[in-house]
């Protein structure tokens, strides 16, 4: 079985589930969520037996290589985690959609993520700009619906409107960018672009316009400064599972596209590789600084995670800008992939805890965390692990990711950029530890113990384990995936 069949099967399954929901009104409320989670789990399982070869009839725009396989698995894992978080957040969502009754259900909330997953999986293999555009829009449009899903909540609607307008704006910019790149190179495929960027006949000025527009359009999706402004608002307003999915899934999908686009634009001999690098570098540094500094005075935890997501995007951009480092044997796509792999468990864990806490009536404010260690030691510990890893504490996954980025930047001799990134990381040490301190400070006496469901507990345990494993033994990722992509040669 070839890997692309899995995404086709997933798309068919999503449509079938929608049909099931529409035509079988007597279905129990939790059947669709369970089916949905089961299907994604099945797809994930199938992925490990999938063959990594590209079918010939797709070869002109679709390729399954090791990096594509990595992002496909990544998309499935992120979807699975988002669905599990969605189950935890179910009561809250139901409250804001007016579907609390036992005879009602919110099946779409569990089916639309499958469609997003299909889009993300396809994006990982896309080899030309049309094949990038179509799944990217599939993902974006689905997210418009998901962000505004809790339509009786004012903030969810507001987030939906903001995401919609700015998302459509970025779509316009992206298409315009694609048009200019096509105009300059005469080609839509990455291979064709890579060939043309070095040719003397290609106009540099047209390339630059195209590259700037393309980077801006994709910069919106990955939350690169200055196209990050939507992130805190939308992350705070969207339902927690959607925020988690948006910050991990959508971001990873955009990063694989950005990686391939940057690779094509900076191919050997390219006229504009210096310009692209500088832009990415500046954007990355500003993104890190903005994300970290703005988070310092933040007390809303979901918003804090939004700013955190911005600053992490900055680190990944820095890795992209730095490119491959022969000296350290790390490739830029490997660092990006590894950083995202470390980013997934810690972010997902943070949002999972938020969803569990929210369903227990704990609001997303820092002060509400006080006394958490007494109310639920397990949750407090998981929270501490997640935030310590987000901060980049040694022995956690976050540390290794940041370190690889610094390594790549140091190899380029960008000490100023590294210095500024370190300032961002140090600020992170300050604001990420505030939730931990709050969780371990004394609470009010009337606080009761908190409970969490078995699936949530098990998921949290798996994520904690992943964070620690990646932090202590980063090679584990490589051997688990059997793909030689994560730390190209560092892992050898």
């Amino acid at each position: 079985m070839s890997a692309h069949n899995i995404e086709i099967a997933l798309a068919v399954a999503a449509v079938a589930l929608l049909g099931l929901d529409a035509f079988v009104p007597t279905l129990k409320r939790d059947i669709i969520p369970k089916l949905s989670i089961g299907l994604v789990g099945l797809a994930l399982l199938a992925m490990f037996f999938a063959k990594g070869d590209t079918p010939a009839y797709l070869a002109s725009y679709y390729r399954i290589d090791s990096i594509a396989m990595f992002y496909k698995v990544f998309a499935l894992v992120a979807t699975l985690a988002a669905l599990i978080i969605a189950r935890e957040a179910d009561p809250v969502i139901a409250h804001f959609t007016g579907t609390e009754g036992p005879s009602t259900r919110i099946a779409e909330f569990y089916i639309l993520p499958l469609i997003v997953c299909v889009g993300l999986m396809w994006m990982a293999s896309a080899q030309d700009l049309i094949s990038v555009f179509v799944p990217l829009e599939l993902v974006t449009v689905t997210f418009y619906v998901l962000v505004a899903f809790a339509r009786r909540s004012a903030v969810s609607l507001e987030a939906g409107v903001k995401y919609l307008i700015l998302g459509a704006l970025s779509t316009g910019i992206l298409v315009y960018g694609i048009a200019w790149i096509y105009g300059a190179t005469g080609s839509m495929t990455f291979a064709g672009i890579a060939k043309a960027v070095g040719a003397a006949s290609t106009s540099k000025s047209a390339l630059i316009v195209g590259a700037a527009l393309l980077l801006a359009g994709l910069g919106f999706k990955v939350a690169a400064a200055p196209f990050h402004v939507w992130v805190p608002d939308v992350y705070q307003g969207a339902p927690t599972p959607v925020t988690a999915f948006l910050s991990v899934g959508s971001k990873a999908g955009a990063f694989i596209v950005l990686t391939r686009a940057v690779q094509a634009l900076t191919a050997t001999g390219s006229q504009i590789s210096g310009e692209v690098q500088t832009t990415l570098l500046w954007s990355g540094v500003i993104t890190i600084l903005f994300g970290s500094l703005a988070a310092i005075t933040q007390t809303q935890i979901k918003r804090l995670l939004g700013y955190s997501s911005i600053s992490h995007a900055g680190f990944i951009l820095l890795a992209l800008a730095a490119g491959d480092s022969a000296r350290f044997g790390i490739s830029s796509e490997g660092v990006v992939a590894f950083y995202l792999a470390t980013y997934l468990p810690m972010t997902m864990l943070g949002f999972l805890l938020l969803a569990v806490l929210r369903s227990q009536g704990v609001a997303e404010e820092l002060s509400q965390l006080q006394g958490l260690s007494k109310r639920s030691p397990g949750m407090a510990f998981a929270l501490a692990v997640a935030f310590a890893s987000l901060a980049g504490l040694p022995l956690t996954a976050g540390f290794i990711g940041k370190m690889l980025v610094f390594l790549a930047a140091v190899d380029k001799g960008w000490y100023g950029a590294v210095g500024l990134a370190v300032v961002g990381a140090a600020a992170g040490f300050y604001y990420y530890f505030r939730p931990i301190l709050a969780a371990y400070s004394a609470g009010k006496p009337e606080d009761t113990a908190l409970r969490w469901s078995l699936p949530a507990k098990a998921t949290a345990a798996v994520l904690v384990l992943a964070i620690v494993t990646l932090g202590v033994y980063p090679k584990a990722l490589q051997s688990a995936l059997k793909q030689n992509i994560v730390l190209t040669s560092a892992g050898k």
């Binding site: 049309i130 555009f133 829009e137 339509r151 004012a154 507001e158 316009g172 694609i178």
Partner: protein, 105 residues
């Protein structure tokens, strides 16, 4: 005589007008129209380039395929977008963006 440049300039101006509208207008529906305008400007650029990158004497239909997809996406986007705007109007009786500022900081 008309050159490719003429088309590009028209598209660029249309794009810029759209952007100005997005920034300056307060009615979300008008903003959305301006966004559609920007998307159309991009389409014009694509079509113009496809006409000038001839393949065997024919326009490059790959670029036109992208235009086709863009228009489809825009249609779907408009449907979802208008649904969100209607939901917003139901909740607030207004489509003025300057009132949509609960999330900030």
């Amino acid at each position: 005589m008309i050159t490719l440049n003429h088309y590009l300039v028209v598209a660029a101006m249309l794009f810029a007008i759209g952007l100005a509208g997005v920034v300056a207008r307060r009615n979300i529906l008008t903003i959305y129209m301006c966004l559609e305008m920007m998307l159309s400007a991009a389409n014009l650029t694509l079509v113009a380039f496809s006409r000038f990158h001839l393949h065997d004497g024919l326009p490059d239909y790959h670029a036109q395929a992208l235009v086709f997809f863009t228009i489809t996406v825009a249609a779907a986007e408009v449907a979802v977008g208008l649904a969100i705007i209607v939901a917003l109007y139901r909740a607030r009786q207004s489509v003025d963006v300057t009132t949509v500022t609960k999330l900030q900081g």
